[in-house]
Amino acid sequence: MDYTQLCYAEYFGLPKELSMIIVYSLASLTVILFFYFLKLRLNRYGIGLWEFILMLLKGYRAWLPFLWDIATHRRFTKYESIGAVAHLMILYALLLSLIGTLIVAANQYIGIITGKEVFCGYFFLSYSLVMDITAWILFIGSVLGGIYRVLGRKELYTRNEYYTNLLFLAGFMYLA
């Protein structure tokens, strides 16, 4: 097999059913729901959705230090060990997964429009390896996060957040 002709298969090469297309279309519903819930949560505190978005856009000068802190986790790692490592692993795994999802989406839309796929050859193979490593990072990070949550802060046990965090970690383990 010529590796240059080898492309990612999902929409083009694997079983297709109408219900699978419905699942795909749920993505747009997700975006609508996300903004609806965002508005709902912010309104509880008397903050408007547009007000919030405009504030984020106007404060563009703070993005760089924010992203630098997030990328390095320098403040988190200063005070925590397991928690910081787990948070860092989950963050980078989700970031790489997001890039992977965007590549796959671009591949499918370009494929539908032009009839030619772009996620092919060594690009496809090398990112497959990246995603395999990412799956392990997400899985191990979620396990570490779970250990940190269960064995960590006893003060959080009475809070709803404690349980939603654990559910999120279980979800990450399933998605990995």
Binding site: V23, D69, M131, T164
Partner: protein, 154 residues
Amino acid sequence: MSGAIIESYRFIHMDLWRYWMFMPNALLLSSISSSSVLYMVIYYTHFPLAFILIAILPLTAIFHSLLGLYNYIINYKRPLGELSKPFDLKELTAESATELKVGFSNVTEILKLNKAEAIACTNCFRCQDVCPAYTAGRPPLTYDDNNEDKAWAL
């Protein structure tokens, strides 16, 4: 696990055995991934679950990933650990001062920016760890989820 199983199905379907070094997880799960029923089950759970997790982000503690940026904007260029001065003792004790006002008496007095700053808190309790009042035996930081909304909505 579901992501790796979906990849494994693709791996078998496309006969990619010679490229296993690029897809070690798929090779690892190849013995259980040949079933198209399993592929469908995983497909119908993997994507909706991912979508649900994204949609409910603002309702969970993960909301701090957005509010964290908000917090950075509010505190831009403020040195790490610097506290703002809540009041000037000299001004408060001056003869002309008629009213001693420290903090807020009602939630409506709190600025929207400060509210957002407070919501961004992840309740990690690290502030409690270094709190002199807590060390001196004052009650720990307490939080009641059920009353949070009522308090902010005042």
